[in-house]
């Protein structure tokens, strides 16, 4: 029995194999790591033009944030596809 255990242990040594290949986690473009800023607040001016300017500035902030979000989605989908191709 002891001999069998020794033989089995000897034989199984050949089965332990590790593959030392790891893929580096991809870097994210620095633009995507910037947080979306808070919306601008209107000043207390009673002028409609001032208020309109603030609103349009906030639209621009939203659009920039939308661009980043789209960038994240595109980045994730592409990187996932690349990662899955390594198998």
């Amino acid at each position: 029995m002891k001999l069998l255990i020794v033989i089995a242990a000897f034989a199984l040594v050949g089965c332990s194999t590790t593959v030392p290949v790891v893929m580096k986690f991809p870097d994210v473009p620095k633009e995507l790591l910037e947080a979306c800023p808070n919306l601008k607040l209107a000043d207390n001016s009673p002028k409609l033009s001032a208020m309109l300017t603030t609103v349009t500035q906030n639209y621009a902030l939203y659009k920039n944030c939308q661009i980043k979000q789209e960038g994240w989605v595109e980045w994730y989908k592409s990187q996932k596809q690349i990662f899955e191709s390594v198998k």
Binding site: V19, V21, A42
Partner: protein, 149 residues
């Protein structure tokens, strides 16, 4: 153990084949010695050594084959990882360029919009005066929510 890796691979292959060859030969010879009375007493040791050599040789040859297959797999994966990392860098550049381009367009459009507001500023402000309550409501809507205090 690393010192073993310094020995050329071919030497091991030769040893494995030699072990298998010797094992088979010894085993066959052990079966034939019954006809030669002078060396009959070597029959059992020859058979034993033959079987052990054959088993060890087969084991090491199998191990070598598996090792070779794994090394090939590692090399293949390394190639794929290298190619994937290159592709990944390209994707980053593409995404980065798109963001920079679109952000630039948004900025340009915003400048044009602000210019247009300035052009008609007097008309807009002459027609309408905003109540401070409206500004307060707008600011309340724009104020950040859910941020840690």
């Amino acid at each position: 153990m690393w010192i073993v890796s310094l020995i050329p691979e071919n030497i091991f292959v030769i040893i494995y084949y030699a072990l298998v060859g010797a094992g088979i030969t010894l085993y066959i010879v052990s079966k034939l010695v019954t006809w030669i009375p002078m060396i009959t007493q070597w029959k059992l040791p020859m058979e034993l050594v033959g079987v052990i050599a054959l088993a060890a040789g087969a084991y090491f040859m199998g191990g070598y084959g598996v090792q070779k297959a794994w090394l090939a797999r590692v090399a293949e994966l390394e190639e794929k990882v290298k190619a994937a990392e290159a592709k990944s860098a390209v994707v980053n550049t593409v995404v980065q360029e798109k963001i920079v381009y679109k952000t630039k367009i948004v900025k340009e459009v915003q400048i044009k919009i602000e210019e247009r507001i300035k052009e008609v500023e007097k008309i807009i402000d002459a027609e309408c005066k905003v109540d401070p309550v409206a500004i307060q409501i707008l600011n309340d809507a724009a104020a950040p929510v859910g941020e840690a205090k």
